[in-house]
Symmetry: C2
Subunit: 214 residues, 2 copies
């Protein structure tokens, strides 16, 4: 399978910056603007115009000298390129406090992520629905995922079982793990791993705050 | 104010790695272990033993040659150092889908973050409580925060008003902003800014998945 607009050799830092440009040009659109140059984006985003032009060169769009990019086209191309317009099928393991919160967050669907099921072993949540998403016993995962064919597994279990559950998800066909635990899991080379550690971000923030207090 | 165990010149990458070590040594403790060396941590965490020893040198703990670190002491010192054992006062702006989800996530308290209030302008949420946390009208923030003295402001508003709301939080005394929007906000130099863009992480994951499909 190939995606026409999917340049897959984009460096990760560029991929992480593209959503900033997208949300800024969406703001400009709200303000009634129709064209924007990389210089104009640079003034607001704290990234150099050269870097922005380079990042946007990975995307299938061309700007015109002096006129810049067409905003509607830029939004459409960026959303497509970033994968936000294709729905990706996900499941979530660990319906505790954070897991239940993520199931409740319908906002992820607007960015192309649809969570179809939660899995847990706790009888107080198994059989329940959260935001219309059913929670099954983890034992049912392999069978359920034969039909569902989820590619993405969200990991919100307690850290001490993170590795074990990650291995289990992979054995059931998961190809990308979005790890919200502070545990550093290891995955085979062909598996995509994205760590989002809220706690590491908290630690950085607390430390910088304390610095200001000195 | 100074914190005895707070070395504030720790590089951000080290600060981000320390929670990995913490969650791994907590696992070892559950398994009944009492000592661990940096080499043993390195085998599991994919970080070199030299790097781990260097990172841990920022923390107020000393390992003994051949014996390693005392696990109970390492956990206590890391939790203290990372700020997870002091409660930090936070407020949250934007009680939409993600904002409400974060208010529901009691897990953050275990890592030293206590959200005391939500703020929004939408009459359908103002006056409500989520997970026992009251939601007030944004207009009340400056007055409320004179008593509350929250240092941390969590930003989960729609991206197009992110900058405006960030400025408003700062005007009310917020010293650190935890920005969950995909918008690249700008803050004065003395304000701590931590970006956690779930959408940027999604974009990276989608792109890497597509690469595997080629």
């Amino acid at each position: 399978m190939s995606h026409d607009n999917y340049n897959t050799n984009v460096p990760e830092p560029a991929l992480r910056r593209l959503p900033w440009y997208l949300s800024y040009v969406k703001l400009l659109k709200r303000q009634g603007r129709s064209k924007v140059s990389s210089t104009q984006i640079a003034e607001k985003i704290n990234v150099s115009a050269t870097q922005i032009a380079k990042d946007l060169s990975y995307v299938n769009i061309s700007g015109k000298t002096r006129v810049g990019y067409d905003i509607d086209e830029l939004i459409a191309v960026l959303e497509d390129f970033l994968g936000f317009k294709r729905m990706h099928t996900a499941v979530l393991f660990g319906v505790g406090s954070l897991g239940a919160a993520l199931l409740s967050d319908s906002g992820l669907e607007q960015y192309g992520l649809k969570i179809h099921a939660g899995f847990d072993v706790d009888s107080s949540v198994v059989g329940q629905k959260i935001n219309k998403i059913p929670v099954f016993h983890s034992d049912e995962f392999v069978a359920k995922n034969k039909k569902l064919k989820a590619q993405i597994g969200i990991l919100t279990v307690p850290p001490y079982i993170a590795q074990e559950v990650a291995d289990f998800m992979i054995s059931g066909g998961i190809q990308a793990i979005w790890n919200f635990t502070p545990f550093r899991i290891r995955v085979p080379e062909h598996i995509v791993l994205q760590n989002t550690s809220l706690y590491a971000h908290l630690a950085v923030m607390f430390n910088r705050l304390a610095k200001g207090d000195e």
